[in-house]
Structure formats: C-alpha cells, structure tokens
C-alpha cells in the first residue's frame, strides 16, 4: 500500500521526468497552490515554464476542529503547471494516475465541466473536475486570464487533492486514518494543526489586530506599486516579488476574518476588490518588468 508520502514522491518523480522543476512549497501562507508566485506570476508573459510542487493550502472557513473526516483547514495540493500545455496533456495526466497505482481499466473516470475563477486574483480558467469512481480527485484548468491579463501561452494547471487521492487508494473513510508513512498516520502529523487553527480562526483570532494587519500589508503593497517606475533603467531591481508577498498576506488575513465572521456581506465585496486591486497591480508591473528583461536579452543576442 502506498503511503501519503509515497504518492507525493511518485507524482513528483513522474512530473520531473516530464521536464518539471520540482519546487518546494512557497513559504507564505496561501489558500491554494495557484496563488504561489510559481503559478500566479510565471503563467504571465511569453516564457515557457514547467513546475510541480506540493502546496499546503489554508482555508480557515473549512476547518472542523479535526472532527470531520473529509474537511480540512489545511490540505495539501500537488500543483502542476505546464506552460504551454502540451497536446497530450490529458494523456500525461492519466499516466500520472497510473504511476500511483490506479488501474484505469478498472475504475471509472469522468471529466465534468468545472470552470475555475479566483476573483481576488483577477484569474479564471476553463476546465473540469476529474471524478474517479464518483470522487473529485483533480481540478484541471486551462488558464485564460491571470491578474486580469490575457495569457500569451495558455498553461494547463493540474491540481491534485492529495489527501483525497490517498484516502481513495488506501480505502479509508477518514483522511485522519491514512498512512503518512508506515508508522505515522495523517492524524499523528496534522491533527494538532486542524484543532488549534480551528480554535484560533473561529474563536480567538483578534479581529481588530487582523484588520490592522490587513491594512498594513495592503499599504505596503500599495506603497511599493506606487514606487514602481516602468521607465526606470533600474527597474529590474525593483522588489515586485516582496510586493506580491504582501498580497498573499492580505488574502490570508481576509480569509481568516471571513471565517471569524467579522466581514459583513457588503464589506466582503469591497475587500475582494481591495485584494484584487493590488494583485492585478503586481501582475501588470511584473509583466512589464519581465518584458523589458526579455527585450534586453534579445538585444544581447
């Protein structure tokens, strides 16, 4: 029987053999693998890119104090970006399922329409949820826009729900019972996270502090974006990546406030707009910065 980490190893190995950079998780808290700069910024512009990484993804509102067998505050996504998407991308994806021991002749697999949208990132795509014997195991998306920008090369994004896939393969009714390794269960590794973050997000997070933090991070992102000069000869040095970290901080704080019940419906729309504004700002500046770099390389050649 494959353990949780065996499955991670096999998938990473599979995609590494297909030319992907294997990245480590991004070190700022995010709600989904899509938000990492390895996806959000790399999909912009004309440069091909291939990357795969496991990203712990935080959804404060989904926490259930470790009680619900299927819902987690923090689940693990294996995120694969293939830019541009190869013609046989679906066959490659099916190959990855076989690589973790799923015999596709003996299981039912369906691609059901499911388009993806992230309003805070100005991003959306067209795709499917992949259903294996009735269980959603993957979100498959052809990105169309990111940061409000049409994409030069359409990437395929493959996002595996690792806990679900492992529970499926190990035939477990609860994700807490899956084997992380032979000697440790998922519960051993993650139960404390689930319990304590649920308590924090739902009961103890200080609303006033979070609002203050949100505004500080938002202010820092806005300050940097304002200082970015597209005409500057030195713009290559400009810290847009740190500016983007501020966007991620805002997004996570927003999600925490939301879980805490501190955001009214009317405020909610406004908050999404605020995060979107700085996310789109970074995306546009980043594209501008990269294009200049590209042009310079072109000239040098």
């Amino acid at each position: 029987m494959l353990s949780f980490q065996d499955i991670v190893f096999k998938l990473k190995h599979y995609w590494s053999e297909r030319g992907c950079i294997i990245q480590e998780p991004y070190d700022v808290e995010v709600g989904a693998g899509t938000m990492c700069p390895e996806t959000f910024l790399r999909v912009l512009g004309p440069n091909p890119y291939r990357v795969a990484y496991v990203q712990p993804s935080r959804r404060p509102a989904d926490g259930r104090y470790g009680d619900n067998p299927n819902r987690l505050f923090k689940h693990s996504q294996l995120q694969v970006i293939l830019k541009p998407s190869p013609d046989d991308v679906i066959d490659q994806y099916l190959g990855s399922l076989e690589a973790i021991g799923i015999d596709l002749r003996k299981h039912d697999l369906k691609f059901e329409e499911d388009n993806w949208e992230a309003p805070t990132l100005g991003a959306w795509g067209i795709g499917w949820q992949v259903m294996l014997d009735g269980l959603e195991i993957t979100q498959f998306t052809y990105f169309q826009q990111c940061g409000g920008i049409d994409l030069d090369l359409v990437p395929a994004e493959i996002t595996y729900g690792l806990e679900r896939i492992t529970a499926f393969l190990e035939v477990r009714d609860s994700v807490y019972d899956i084997e992380w390794t032979k000697d440790f269960t998922y519960r051993d590794v993650r139960y404390n996270d689930e319990l304590q973050y649920s308590v924090y997000n739902f009961e103890m997070a200080d609303i006033a502090t979070l609002w203050k933090l949100f505004e500080l991070h938002e202010g820092e992102a806005a300050r940097l974006l304002k200082a970015y000069d597209p005409e500057s000869p030195e713009k290559k040095r400009f810290p847009l990546l740190p500016a983007y970290d501020q966007v991620l901080k805002c997004s996570n704080i927003f999600n925490t406030l939301d879980a805490r019940g501190a955001i009214s419906v009317t405020e909610r729309v406004g908050m999404i707009q605020r995060v979107r504004k700085i996310a789109v700002g970074v995306a546009q500046a980043w594209l501008n910065q990269q294009q200049e770099v590209l042009a310079a390389e072109e000239v040098a050649r």
Binding site: P69, N70, S85, D87, D91, K106, D108, Y142
Partner: protein, 640 residues
C-alpha cells in the same frame, strides 16, 4: 457520381449540456455552405462532434458566362482591348444584340477543394455558450481543445489544417479502453469506433443505459439521463447501496445529494418510497472487481454524513429565530437584505389576502438561506425551509407554503399546492419585480440577470391556474414600465403557453386584463364563439363600426333619440338591440348579425342631416360598447 462525406471533430471533453446545441449549429453552418447533398446525420460523444452527409457530387457543374463588351460599331482599338483583357483574340469574339461578347467557361471546382477551403472557418464558427483559448491569446478558440480531425469525402481525405491539427483518416477510441489512433473509412467508421468502445449514437447510449436497468425501479429523471448520455462514450450502469439509516433524512436531501452532486439516479421500493440504493453510470464496460461500486458507495456515505451533520446542526436554531439573521444576507445591493425583503413581502401579501398563515409563511420563508444545508445545497432553498418548519411544528399550510414558494420554476412546473403557498409565491415574485423596477433593474433584450421574466410568468401562471381573485393593476403601484412588462408576459402566457390565437388574445386583452381569471374565461368564450358562422362577419362589422366612429371623431356623448330613427333596418337594429341587451353574446349573436348586416347594406350612416347622423353614430357606439365587454372584436383578424 455522388459521394458520402464524414467530418469528425475530435476534442477534449465537451460539457454535456452544450453538445445538442453545437450539433444544431454545425448542421446550420453546413447547410449554409450550399454544398448539394441528400441526407445529413449528426452525432456526438463528449470527445467528438460528427457530421455525416450522403450524396455530395464530386464537383460543381461547369458554367458559362457571357460578358458583354463594346458595341459592334466601336473602333477597332476598343474591340482589341476588350479581347486582350479577357485573354482571347479579336476573331474569337461574337456579336450578340449589337455588342461584342466573350464566352467564359468555368470548370466546376471539386467539392473536395471547396470543403477543404470552407471547413476550418466552419468549424471555428460552431456556436458554444462559452469558448476558450488553449494555445495562447492569439490562437484559435473553441469549446475545448481540438485534438484530431477526420475529414473524408468518399475515400479521399479533405485536406486542411486547423489549430495545428491536420485533417486525416485517423479517429480515436475510448480514452482508456480503446486505441488512441484508429484508421477508419466512411463505411466502417461506426463499427471501428464500437470496436474501440465508443458508441457513436446518443440514442444507442441511452438505450444501453435503459435496457441494462430493466428490473431496477429507477426514479425517472430525463434531464439526468441526457447528461449521462453526453458525458459517456460507453455507458454502463451499476447499482450500489447505502446504509438504510440515512433514510431518516428527508428524501429531498438524499435525492439532491445523489442527483446534483453525484449524478446518480435514485431507486424506489415497490411502494414507491426511496430505497437505500442508487444507480451510477460508468464510462467503461464493466466493474468486475466491484471497485467502482464500492468507491461510489464510499463517496456517497461521506456526502450523506455531511448532510446529516448539517441537518442536525441547523435544527439547533429554529427558522423563526433565524429571521433576524437575514439582516446579514444581501438580496441585491440596491434593494437591501433579505430581512428588508421579507418585510416588503409582508406588505404585498397583506394586500393580497387576509390569510394569517400566508403572512406567517412570508415572514419565515427566507430563513433557510442562513442554514448550512442550503449553503451546501443551494438548489434546495425553500424546500429545506419547509422541511425545518414542519419539523419545528409549524401548521401544514405554513410549512407547505414555505416549501413551495419558489414554484413554478418553469412553465412546465406546477404552482404551489395550497392557496397559502400561492399567495406567498405571488408576494415573493411581485416584491422582486416591484423592487427591481423601482431601482431600474429592468431586463433588456436577452439580458435578464434577476430572472424577472420568469418571475412575472410565474405570477401569471399562479393567478390563472390557482383561480385567484387578484387585480393585477392594483399591484403595479402606478409603475407604467412594470405594467407593460406584465402585459407582454400575459400575452405570452395565453398565446404561447396556452395556445390561444394571437388575435383572440389581443381582442380579449383590449377589453381589460387586470383580472386574469376573468380574462381566461373570456378567452374561452371567444374561442367557442369563433366556431359560430356569425362570428367573423360580426367581428368584421365591429371593425367597420370602430373605423366609422374614429373617422367621425365621435365623442360618445348623448343618448339615442328614438324619434330620429328611420323605419326599416335602422329601427329594426335598434329594436333588436333593446331585446338582447344584457344577454351574453353567445345567445344573441345569430340574431344580431343579420340586423347589423342589413343596416350596413341599406342605411347611410353619413346622413346629410347632422342630427340623424349623430343619432346613428350613437346607435353604433352603444352597440359596440354593449358587446365589447368580453373582447374588442374589432381586433379579430377576419377574411371579410
């Protein structure tokens, strides 16, 4: 010689609900090419759109065009220039009707070439509600990436390239059971696909599902069956089961989980009650080890556990106690929260009825929007509220009214089952309509984001079918735009839904439409009257009367002065009118018509004496008014 033509557009999985429309669009586009042909057949699976045509000629007929040039009297230079321009010598020109002409022969093009030229454009023009790029922002757009194309005319490939894909004679089998490349000919196409686990015909896939389910009491669900037919290439149903303890949950919740979230059919026992079983349709041929069944059972168990958790959690707070929480749920930015909405609905329902149950149901009907179960299954709004109300001891008319208040969801759907529910549903829809019109959210063209047409249609249907004594005009609060919006919906309902003739609807509505129950009754009478041989002639006479009155700018003042009536047809018409006034038109039409006809035959309305003239106009106006209470008959289209 005529040839068969095959086009298979191979794609990644197309959303099931878009496929029938796409085939229709493909068919239309092919017809527009004006390529001669005999029969056309369209088929599709999630991964291919297929057009098969019989009887395409090999090439166009040759054609001759005669081009006229200079007159036969023209100078030699001009004639030579004309000949040169068309690549012939002056001797080859013929003179017809006094002009030099040249005959140009065009050799008909091969349809293989014509198809090769037109197919790339044609394919990219197939209409889908949503499109995507899959190479980049300047690349082709389609519903999903195009991965292969088969285009054969007879035995020849119709060669073209689209989106980096070259057309050919290689199709593809089932993703997991078939081969990714299958060489095919038009003759063996369908059979070769079947060998590779693709059933091309949707009808046959449907048949396969149905026949393999014989003996299972599946709850019929035509829409779900359509979906399953178009998300599979080789459908095979399997029966799974779940723990009978879940049957304690409301059937509506269980069925929704199975249907909307898992695309399962539910199964009934011999008494018609929900059984602890389900049917899943796989996209493979068999489940010999039971992996698929047990996998689906496990997923369903987790889903049902969630639903039970929500059901139990939600009950900790009654729906009555949840009403104030609606202050945090936005209905529409400009219209406020759902708490505002139920308050306004309260005003509307008090205008409609004194039924205290309806007042109460209005107050409670939106509370379920705050429950976990509705957040999880939004399609169960209303129903969940009704179920909670029942569990919390609300009287039957109240809980049923809450349960039904979104009805009718379409013109085919039924109206709420009890009177209380009908009033609550009316109050909900009318409040939405009044509110949206008040703040200018009025549907334009095909844009109707708040479903106002459906809401107004629902209002009409509930009043008519529920036979409710409601006067619509009193509910428009003077909003002219809302009035004319409703006028259109009333007309649509009687004409398109109920099938009355458009002139009957116009005629009946011209006599008033505030009371829809009365309008329906009058329409029924007009429909019956129409079969009378006197009807259309009388209607034509009424039209004539109306024209005469309009031309005379008759204001309708004054009474008929009997002394001014001329003996004969005029007097007889008047006497007849006196005899039949106040009686329903059905019983008097045969008496009235000959008198009217005779009057127009013999009497000059425009009498020279102004007083006589005025008296005649008064007589006609009186007549028109008397018989126009059920309809304005002058609106009836007649052959007279």
């Amino acid at each position: 010689m005529s040839l068969p033509f095959l086009l298979e557009i191979g794609t990644e999985e197309i959303p099931d609900w878009m496929i029938p429309g796409a085939l229709e669009s493909l068919h239309d586009l092919f017809e527009k090419t004006e390529i001669p042909h005999e029969t056309v057949q369209l088929d599709a699976t999630p991964r291919r759109l297929v057009l098969r045509v019989e009887g395409v000629p090999e090439r166009q007929a040759d054609s001759e065009d005669v081009i006229s040039g200079p007159a036969s009297s023209a100078p030699e230079q001009a004639v030579a220039g004309f000949a040169r321009k068309h690549g012939v010598s002056a001797q080859d020109l013929q003179v017809r009707n006094g002009r030099y002409t040249v005959t140009k022969k065009t050799v008909g093009r091969r349809y293989q070439d014509i198809l090769a030229d037109s197919l790339p454009e044609l394919i990219l023009h197939i209409n889908f509600p949503k499109m995507m790029y899959w190479t980049g922002k300047t690349g082709p757009r389609f519903i999903r990436p195009i991965r292969w194309i088969v285009a054969l005319l007879g035995e020849q490939v119709v060669p073209f390239e689209l989106a980096g894909v070259r057309s050919g004679a290689l199709s593809a089998g089932h993703r997991r059971l078939g081969s990714p490349e299958i060489a095919i000919t038009i003759a063996d196409y369908e059979r070769r696909l079947r060998d590779h686990y693709v059933i091309l015909s949707a009808a046959e896939r449907r048949q396969k599902i149905q026949s393999e389910l014989e003996g299972v009491r599946v709850k019929p669900d035509a829409a779900l069956l359509d979906t399953l037919v178009y998300i599979t290439e080789y459908p095979t149903p399997i029966v799974g089961s779940f723990d009978a303890q879940f049957l304690e949950l409301p059937e509506e919740v269980l069925v929704t989980v199975m249907r909307h979230h898992q695309k399962y059919f539910s199964v009934q026992d011999s008494q018609g009650k929900l059984a602890a079983k389900f049917v899943a349709v796989m996209n493979i041929d068999a489940d010999p080890d039971g992996f698929v069944r047990s996998g689906n059972e496990r997923v369903l168990r987790a889903r049902f556990n969630d639903a039970r958790f929500f059901w139990e959690t939600d009950q900790k707070k009654t729906i009555a106690d949840r009403v104030q929480d609606l202050a945090h749920v936005t209905f529409q930015a400009k219209l406020g929260t759902y708490l505002d909405k139920v308050k306004l609905m309260g005003q509307v329902v008090r205008q409609l009825t004194d039924d205290q149950h309806a007042w109460k149901a209005v107050w409670l009907c939106k509370s379920d929007l705050t429950t976990e179960l509705v957040k999880e299954f939004p399609e169960l709004q209303g129903i969940v509220g009704g179920l909670y109300a029942r569990a919390q001891g609300e009287p039957e008319p109240v809980w049923q009214a809450i349960y039904d208040h979104y009805k009718p969801l379409s013109m085919e759907d039924s109206i709420p089952r009890n009177r209380t529910g009908q009033f609550v549903a009316l109050a909900d829809k009318l409040d939405t309509l009044q509110g949206c019109f008040r703040v200018g959210l009025i549907p334009t063209g095909s844009r109707d984001p708040f479903g106002l047409r459906r809401a107004a249609q629902g209002v009409v249907k509930i009043i008519v079918e529920g036979k409710l004594e409601v006067l619509l005009f009193e509910l428009f609060s003077g909003d002219e735009a809302l009035r004319s919006f409703f006028e259109e919906r009333v007309r649509f309902y009687f004409k398109d839904v109920r099938g009355f003739k458009y002139d009957e609807v116009n005629a009946a509505m011209a006599a008033g439409w505030s009371n829809l129950v009365d309008l329906e009754a009058r329409l029924g009478r007009i429909q019956d009257l129409r079969s009378s041989p006197d009807f259309e002639p009388l209607a034509a006479s009424f039209k004539r009367i109306r024209n005469i009155l309009e031309q005379a700018k008759f204001t309708g003042l004054g009474a008929i002065e009997e002394t001014l009536l001329e003996a004969g047809p005029e007097r007889e018409l008047y006497d007849e009118y006196r005899r039949i006034a106040g009686q329903p038109i059905e019983s008097v039409i045969s008496k009235l018509r000959p008198k009217v006809d005779l009057f127009f035959d013999k009497v000059l309305v425009n009498a020279p004496d102004a007083r006589v003239r005025h008296n005649r106009l008064t007589l006609l106006n009186t007549l028109l008014k008397e018989f126009s209470t059920i309809a304005d008959f002058s609106q009836i289209v007649t052959n007279f």
